[in-house]
Amino acid sequence: MTLDRGAVGDLLAAYGGLLDDAKYEEWLGLFAEECRYNVVSRENHDRGLPAALIFCDSRAVLEDRIMALREANKYNIHTDRHLIGLPRLLRPEADGPVVEAPFAVFQTDQEGSTRLFATGLYRDRLETAREGLKIRDKLVLLDTFAVPTLLATPL
């Protein structure tokens, strides 16, 4: 199956836009029913160590994390801005097409001061659903693994 580059771009644009608008429940809709979402530091990834910063092995855990963000967690008051680079469409694997894209997330505080919060690489395994592309397995490979302050809103 060949991926449509335009559709991949639309998916990534929606991904960043929904997070930056704090529409996390809609953002969940970009994931397939069976999905995974892991944020892994480059330090662990390069050493073959399995621990993640965020480890959502199922949609249930991902939804729990969003509910906790809404209902329980407190964090630095800020807005996010995702800049997502051009995707590389990798050779499709047996269990679906894989796309990589570099990203940067800037955080801006209430007084308008912006800092680079994170940069890294998305590696997404996608699936084609009737209503379009969905994310089945997302790895956020985090270059900025000395996390500034804390990591609450999804990357």
Partner: protein, 417 residues
């Protein structure tokens, strides 16, 4: 110059903000605390299983390396070339037969001893070092090491008491419980917090904040102040164990208690209950044990997530929390998976820990302009510093400050200890 007059109260129930912000105090801490008669956690023997394995760590801001020699013994030294003061070992970890500074290729052994210098006799009979230059007098500064069940501690002070005496009975019991069998490193995480390092040392001793700041604990029933628990310290009160037992309260007791706190207490349920499920590792009911070792180590068990945190100061206004996530070498795959899933609870993105980064930064930011004002430490009452069998307390913070004052040479006459 800060003196013993700085303390508004002899029981350390008031801590002047100056102590978190004064660069001169920060420098004195590096000398008198980190390079003083304390034992600093460096890392785990499990991280350097083979001869030649090395890892970089820190004592305060001082870079150090610990490694394993040919005979299997753990050695450590200050990672700074005797020649020009450059980092000798630049990688964070690896395996090597020797440690060579890239600047002028001075070469050191596992014990930090200087073994070779290029062009020592010059070239064609000209240049080089004087014949009287002794290699033996120019090694890397060695550390004294102590090891508790595979946890490696180091000190730069020749007069430091033995490690086991420094830790004291209750702390030793907890470290030996946590590290009662060989461990496996699951990974690391790091967090940069723009605040003074002592705010974090206080935070891990502060039982009072846990279920108020970290609402997830209460909202999802993981840990509550209504559970059986308390704080336990060493004889000098410099270290602390915050502990709690699972299933030791009821939802109704907790609901009533938290009705007065502005904490959501209607106990939402998770779609994935395994996030907070507890499978005892040690044949006891302890599901939360936070063991703070002065000055900068924290051994943490929250449910089945196990971790060791090292506070790494980075100037008066910033520190890193370097956290090593561990499991046990004999964990079956499903237990390893459970621990990985529970890493969601801890670290910079932790469901029950992320708030600390924000709370500590806002405390640092707002206290900076008014150095002579002081914070209040009176939960559990003032006066004597002692263990408590309840959780709404921050008494161990006063223990921290008492020992801190002693080491810094600012302990006032008549102060509690």
């Amino acid at each position: 110059m800060v003196t013993d007059q700085i303390w508004p109260a002899l029981d350390y129930s008031r801590v002047p903000y100056r102590l978190y912000h004064d660069p001169g105090i920060y420098e004195r801490e590096q000398q008198r605390i980190f390079q003083g008669p304390v034992w600093n956690y460096l890392g785990l023997e499990a991280e350097i299983p083979n001869p030649g394995d090395f890892r970089a760590s820190y004592i305060g801001e001082t870079p150090v390396v610990f490694n394993r020699d040919e005979a299997g013994a753990v050695r450590a030294f200050v990672n700074r070339c005797a020649h020009r003061g450059a980092l000798v070992r630049r990688e964070l970890s690896g395996n090597a037969r020797e440690h060579i500074c890239i600047y002028h290729q001075w070469c050191y052994g596992f014990d930090g001893g200087l073994t070779a210098i290029p062009f020592r006799r010059g070239v064609r009979g000209k240049g080089g070092l004087d014949a009287g230059f002794e290699l033996g007098a120019h090694g890397l500064r060695p550390l004294r090491l102590g090891i508790v069940n595979g946890a490696v501690f180091g000190t730069l002070a020749e007069d430091a008491e033995p490690l086991e005496d420094y830790l004291g009975g209750p702390i030793l019991v907890q470290l030996r419980r946590l590290l009662d069998r060989p461990v496996r490193v699951l990974g690391y995480n790091r967090q940069r917090i723009r605040a003074n390092w002592k705010l974090y040392a206080e935070n891990t001793r502060d039982n009072y904040h846990a279920s108020l700041l970290h609402e997830f604990l209460v909202t999802f029933g993981l840990d509550r102040s209504t559970q059986v628990g308390g704080v336990r310290m060493d004889a000098r009160h410099r270290h602390n164990i915050t502990w709690a037992e699972a299933d030791s309260d009821t939802a109704e007791i907790a609901r009533q208690a938290y009705a007065s706190a502005r904490v959501r207490n209607d106990f939402l349920s998770l779609q994935e209950p395994a996030l907070v499920a507890f499978h005892p590792d040690h044949g006891d009911k302890l599901h939360l044990v936070v063991t703070s070792v002065f000055p900068s180590a924290v051994f943490v068990q929250i449910s089945n997530s196990l971790a060791i945190r090292q506070i790494r100061p980075r100037g008066v206004d910033e520190f890193e929390v370097f956290q090593t996530m561990i499991g046990y070498a004999d964990d079956p795959p499903e237990m390893t998976f459970h621990r990985l899933r529970q890493t969601n609870l801890v670290g910079p993105a932790g469901l029950v820990s992320m708030e600390d980064g924000e709370a500590i930064e806002i405390a640092h930011r707002a206290s900076k302009p008014d150095a002579d004002h002081a914070s209040v430490i009176e939960l559990g009452g003032g006066g004597v510093i002692s263990d408590r069998d309840y959780r709404v307390t921050d008494v161990p913070l006063r223990g921290f400050w008492s020992y801190y004052a002693e080491l810094l040479g600012i302990e006032p006459a008549g102060a509690v200890r």
